[in-house]
């Protein structure tokens, strides 16, 4: 029972560590575009529809494939069709700002909300936003010393986590008998050897923004 719970928690930790490494790699190596369309007087500004359209145009010009298919419109009140889309990976702290962007469709307004991912917040144009509490933030790095939020806009197969030496992750269990003569403590853990890597630099753009 305890071992099952530990294994479950370690699994979450493993994937979250993977996410953090990928996040830091993208923050360090992906090209960026500052949001410029806002009115908060900062550099970058808050995110606007013009900024979303700009980054989508850039990805389209670079021949990046969208990741998600469109969601066809249906005859339901308050819903709207959703375009085929690139993913935009960002912090949960941006959700209020996303709500205010022109053309934002919250996932509960999708014609088929079951097509939305659990971490998805909504869509603007050809971007579908996935939010996370560990989204990329660079503190005090705007012109006015505000926090800057990185929004990684990615096309299909723009980056990958590459397993090293033929193995991905290993779950390790050492029973109590290895702990000492009294066999009091067992050990469980994991190790993994993989590296995140951009596969085509033209298919991922970091859209940097501040808050309103």
């Amino acid at each position: 029972m305890v071992l099952n719970e530990c294994a479950s928690r370690l699994g979450v930790s493993l994937r979250q560590t993977e996410d953090q490494l990928t996040r830091d790699m993208l923050a360090a190596t992906a090209s960026f575009i500052n949001c410029l369309g806002g009115i908060n007087g900062d550099n970058p500004t808050e995110i606007t529809r013009a900024d979303v359209d700009g980054v989508v145009r850039e990805l389209l010009n670079n021949n990046a494939y969208t990741i998600m298919d469109n969601i066809e419109g249906e005859n339901k009140f308050g819903t709207a069709p959703v375009r085929d889309a690139y993913f935009a990976l960002c912090s949960t702290k941006l959700t209020g700002n996303l709500d205010a962007v022109g053309g934002f469709i919250h996932k509960n307004q999708y014609p088929a909300p079951m097509n939305a991912l659990r971490s998805e917040w909504g869509a603007i144009g050809n971007l579908r936003f996935l939010v996370s509490s560990i989204g990329s933030v660079v503190p005090n790095s705007s012109a006015l010393m505000a926090d800057v939020y990185n929004i990684f806009c990615v096309g299909m197969e723009a980056f990958a986590a590459i397993e090293q030496d033929g193995y991905s992750a290993q779950f390790i269990y050492r029973p109590p008998i290895y702990d000492g003569p009294l066999a009091l403590n067992a050990s469980v853990g994991y190790k993994f050897a993989e590296v995140p890597r951009i596969t085509n630099d033209l298919w991922v753009i970091n859209l940097r923004s501040t808050l309103v």
């Binding site: 360090a28 190596t29 005090n140 951009i198 630099d201």
Partner: protein, 333 residues
């Protein structure tokens, strides 16, 4: 402290600049002995420095000679001695979080309008040549929030942005702040090679690129140059080039930019803008140098106050012994 809590120890000869010690695991305390000053009995020489986690970032406990004898007095780095406060000490570095935890805002009085602006400040600790800072002032809003390598540090007086901008910021900077970002390029980004903001591109064959933060690239790596309209030289935008490493701040690429529009660093009136940037994309030679490498580490920067004793990295030619350890348990109020 039981001896068996020591995780690592070592010895080095000071070069009069900050010394970064990369540690093999997490650390709770560290101590240095200056074997050179211990052997002497010179007034105001420090002999031992101690740090543990509960101390403020950069602080330490100092044992020093208050007189020209072997008698020892004790103080803290913040309180200082011989009339000098804020003696720089130990700086714990976790490079996986270094960009997410910038140092505290330190007041800047003014900045010059030059292609290598000089900022005056009453506190330069823990800056050393090669360190990376972020400056925010009232006037230089075109470079506010960007990171820069610094050089020419005059202790508790001023520092200079090391890498030459294409054009001066456009005015004399008023009051503002600077923040300590990283001690060096290796710590600046956990992943190598990483993108850089461009300070200048020459119109020449081959074009020479200067970056705000030292680039760390090696000859043979392939980069893409991104130049938005605000920076001029838009003919360069999106071009791929192979790097020839020239200096820490500059490299040439196999692109003839002789007939391109001149590059300029945007003036304050251009804010908001996206700066020009260089993106490493691959290798052009047989040796794979451009792979994304996680170069993260945990360590301690031992500060040096240059020619002045009182910091753990000592002065030039001092022999320093150090030990770092881990506590079995930590009791906090």
């Amino acid at each position: 402290m039981a001896d068996n809590t020591i995780i690592q120890q070592g010895l080095f000869t000071s070069t009069g600049v900050n010394k970064t010690i990369v540690l093999r695991s997490d650390v709770d305390w560290m101590m240095t002995w200056n074997l050179t000053t211990i052997a002497g009995a010179t007034q105001w020489d420090s002999i031992r420095h101690y740090w543990q986690r509960e101390l403020p970032f950069g602080d330490h406990v100092i044992d020093y000679h208050a007189a020209a004898t072997q008698a020892v007095s004790t103080t803290t780095g913040v309180a200082g001695f011989n009339g000098v406060a804020n003696r720089p000490g130990f700086y714990l570095i976790d490079s996986s979080t270094v960009n997410s935890t910038p140092g505290a805002a330190v007041a800047v009085a003014a900045g010059t309008n030059a292609t290598q602006p000089v900022y005056s400040t009453a506190n330069t600790s823990p800056l050393a040549a090669g360190a990376i800072v972020r400056v925010t002032t009232a006037t230089h809003n075109n470079i506010n929030g960007l990171d820069f390598t610094v050089d020419t540090i005059v202790a508790n007086t001023s520092f200079r942005l090391a890498n030459t901008l294409a054009t001066a910021p456009g005015g004399v900077a008023g009051a503002g702040f600077w923040r300590y970002i990283a001690p060096d390029v290796a710590t600046y980004n956990m992943f190598y090679p990483s993108k850089r903001v461009i300070a200048n591109i020459t119109a020449a064959n081959p074009a020479v690129v200067t970056t705000l933060v030292d680039h760390g690239y090696t000859t043979g790596q392939v980069v893409r140059i991104m130049v938005p309209a605000a920076c001029g030289m838009t003919q360069m935008n999106g071009l791929l080039g192979t790097v020839t490493n020239l200096t820490a701040a500059t490299f040439s690429i196999n692109i003839d930019s002789t007939l391109f529009t001149a590059f300029n660093f945007p003036l304050p009136a251009a804010v908001p803008f996206t700066p020009a940037e260089v993106i490493p994309v691959g290798d052009g030679n047989a040796v794979l140098t451009g792979a994304t490498v996680n170069q993260g580490y945990l360590g301690i920067v031992l500060a040096s106050a240059g020619a002045v004793s009182g910091s753990p990295a000592g002065v030039n030619n001092d022999v320093i012994k150090w030990v770092a350890g881990k506590s079995f348990n930590t009791f906090l109020p």
